[in-house]
Symmetry: C2
Subunit: 202 residues, 2 copies
Amino acid sequence: MKLYEFTGAPNPRRVRVFLAEKGIHVPFEQVDIMSGAHKSADFAEFNPIQRVPVLVLNDGTAISESMAICRYFEAVQPDPPLFGKTPIEIGMIEMWNRRMEFHVFRPVTDTFRNSSDFFKGRIPQVPEYVEVARRAAEKSFTWLDEVLGNQRFIAGDKFTIADITALCAVDFARVSKIRIQPAQQNLARWREEVSARPSAKA
Amino acid sequence: MKLYEFTGAPNPRRVRVFLAEKGIHVPFEQVDIMSGAHKSADFAEFNPIQRVPVLVLNDGTAISESMAICRYFEAVQPDPPLFGKTPIEIGMIEMWNRRMEFHVFRPVTDTFRNSSDFFKGRIPQVPEYVEVARRAAEKSFTWLDEVLGNQRFIAGDKFTIADITALCAVDFARVSKIRIQPAQQNLARWREEVSARPSAKA
């Protein structure tokens, strides 16, 4: 079994933090996306979408998409549960994880993808979209600050996959100069707490 | 228990098709998003994100996000499994469902959101983004046609949640004049087969 990943990107980080929370050790292999190694024919056999991370199992099965890899490991080793155990927990944690993906992670990465030199020539960048995405991300930070005024973690009183998605998004936002504002004390308190977990360094 | 939804939108359809495949009956209540009923203070109590669908349980718990609602019901009634049973199935089906969401559903709905009269004044539309999203959707149709040349359903030999996501996206694409091309015979064959299931009419 091997996890093909890239340390600098936000999606592979979600998987690394998840594995650290589970205490699961998997050999990693870096795929240097800066030099385009994920565009090679060899890599495309694992993932025709040509993105990291990809988990390749011993039987050759290749699972791509960060959340698919996390769900594979959640099924293999349910404890500690990061996607919930009861039907209501499962539903509510997925709801919060999706909210973090669509309203935080997505506008943050859209800002970067459409404005960064890295993506120039790699994707059709739309400069007009950058400020729309940036404002959406900033608005979500404000909303997240309110949410975290009422609950310790994103999905309630337990650390879950939704915290991992939110942490990776909030940290990656700094690359595009989207930062937690001084008035957003709940968001800052939460970030400090989740960043202090050993998994955040994974 | 009640499902707040809107018949004309693609996300609520995913939940209706899912419930029909499971044989689960839930009372529906239409939220007329055309007249802005999802923006009311009453509705915001269920979902501050102000989108349909939302499932409200008897204890008042409100679960929004289509996939969160589906996962709640998958946990309550596992059969027939639409998200997989073994760890590998769970990982692979989530991978395919995510691919359908990010590479088919998203560009299809992005095209609509940024070009339709319905969203004018409701979201900051970016006209320059429309053709980028449209081309991405068309490219994904071509890729999907290749995929379906090798397997009966999106995730392999079984009907899964990934087929539901893909069907709702492919059908909704027609609103933006993105259609299955005559040469895309595998995609057309698949669409005919999944559309013939009683759930497709839900």
